[in-house]
């Protein structure tokens, strides 16, 4: 079982390397992280937080957009691509379970994401610490951001596999992935904010709003990192609501979402008839 998962992972890694996905993911993360750390290092002091913690708060807002996007871009082809190329029937006649195929892809894609995340955050940390050696106190927050980003990535990889299985066509899967990214990462927050403003401190704001934030893996990720680093002061918008929700709840959401999305992916893949 492990051997078959690792064989699939090695195979996927070859493909991702040839298709330049490794390079694209690393470059995206490094460039955006460096830009943010340069821009985010100005307004310190007044907030009483170290430079790196402020950079982490900026990186959190960046990762909420970028990590799901990169994960979806890597995963939307996973099943639909095999169906469209005609490689799936042959693969499924091999003594390998469908979930093992997905697990192998997940291992490879998560590894690539982790490499990109480490490169991006690492570059930001190096630049920040070189400018201000006392900023090392923010490394704890950076580490927290790193492993939660990996979990967020795994969640969206799973969602990407599920969409890929449901669409069965690469073009359809790409459309679904972009639509879902827009929906969960961009429109969801806008919708919630609009509802909160309209509600003006009523039952929606106190009861539904916290649950709605926890239900969305991207929001839960942002909440957890902002409450943990107590950097909510520098975060605008939805992040400002972080104080109202206990940290263990957002941690639970961050930890459980990868499992939910992978189970959904496995169920959707099982329904694909080659």
């Amino acid at each position: 079982m492990i051997a078959r998962i690792l064989a699939t992972a090695a195979n996927e890694f070859h493909i991702a390397r040839r298709n330049r996905w490794v390079l694209i993911a690393v470059l995206l993360m490094v460039v955006f992280s460096l830009v943010l750390s340069a821009a985010g290092s100005a307004p310190t002091g007044a907030l009483g937080a170290d430079r790196l913690s402020v950079v982490v708060a900026s990186l959190t807002s960046l990762s909420v957009y970028l990590v799901p996007l990169v994960a979806l871009l890597m995963s939307f082809d996973a099943v639909a691509g095999e169906v469209e190329r005609g490689t799936l029937p042959l693969l499924l006649t091999y003594p390998v379970a469908r979930w093992e195929v997905l697990a192998g892809k997940l291992v490879a894609h998560t590894a690539i994401l982790i490499v990109a995340i480490l490169a991006g955050y690492g570059a930001a940390a190096v630049v920040t610490i070189v400018a201000d050696p006392t900023a090392t106190s923010g490394l704890v927050a950076l580490w927290r951001l790193t492993w939660t980003s990996a979990l967020l990535g795994a969640t969206f990889l799973g969602i990407g596999y599920a969409l890929s299985s449901l669409a069965r066509r690469v073009s359809g899967a790409a459309g679904l992935a972009i639509g879902l990214w827009l929906g969960l990462v961009v429109l969801y927050d806008l919708g919630l904010l609009a509802a909160v403003v309209a509600d003006d401190g009523g039952a929606f704001t106190t009861r539904v709003f916290p649950l709605a934030l926890l239900a969305n893996p991207a929001d839960a990720f942002r909440l957890f990192n902002l409450t943990a680093s107590q950097a909510t002061a520098v975060a605008a918008g939805v992040g400002g609501a972080a104080n109202a929700i206990p940290q263990w709840q957002s941690l639970l959401s961050v930890a459980i979402w990868p499992l939910i999305s992978l189970v959904l992916a496995a169920l959707a893949f099982r329904k694909v008839e080659p």
């Binding site: 051997a3 078959r4 690792l6 064989a7 699939t8 090695a10 195979n11 070859h14 493909i15 040839r18 298709n19 190329r85 005609g86 490689t87 029937p89 042959l90 499924l92 006649t93 091999y94 003594p95 390998v96 379970a97 008839e273 080659p274």
Partner: protein, 303 residues
Amino acid sequence: MKDKLMTSTLTISQLTKTFGGVKALTDVSLSVAPGERVALLGHNGAGKSTLMKIILGLIPADDGKVSVCGAEPGNAEARAHVAYLPENAAFHSALTGLEQITYYMRLRNQNTSGAMGLLDRVGLGHAAKRRIGTYSKGMRQRVGLAQALIGQPRLLVLDEPTSGLDPVSRRDFYELLDGLAADGAAILLSSHALTEVEARTDQLLILSGGRLVAEGTLSELRREAALPVSMQLHPVNGYDADIMATFPDAIRVNSALHLTCLQDEKLAVLARISALEGKLSDVEVIPPSLEDIYSHFSRRDGQ
């Protein structure tokens, strides 16, 4: 027959499959014994690929029984012993031939040091480290063949394996199959041309409209079809009228006279022809072609 059923690698009885109300397979029964090479013939849409996908466990049957190496089709044990070569074998274009075969060997729990040898065996050694995206159709077909040879499969299911291969590669391919069958592998291969498989298989099955319309060796099918024999008579100049008088049914085609008769009458007709010695410059006897026999069976159901 009972002995054969008990020792068969593949046994199918009364298999039926319907797609949205359209019958793809109706009441199909067959068996393939170890070391036996069986050819499945039929037009496009006759049900060959559907039958193969059911044997491989890729799609479920509606009715009937299928036993693959004593197991249900598609379960882990069956898949461990079955190799498949899809029609138009496709692979990820970013991988090299060697990477692709190595991956498949690892999935079958085989030592990957044999990957290069396997590619050499199908004549792809020189291209092993090139991307499959740069391969020709025939080369991709060979990658497909190489993966079907991994780990001594007990049953090989080959969907139109020789399409895209040139005549020399095709001969090499059948030589490979002979070797596998001699080692005890059961082979089921499909084709839409009887000429491609005739001399190289032990048993022929003809599928038409989802039904098995004929089965047997080539000579059995030839006998059963009982198609007429054609003869071409070339008269010596000036004797046309004499010959037309002997065979009033003959049809003039250019300078020759064309004549058909039933298998049973062949010798009697030949005797009458030899009585015309001196008036004929040549006689050709043309038995029904393989394509004629195939058409005879595959069109019997009104297709």
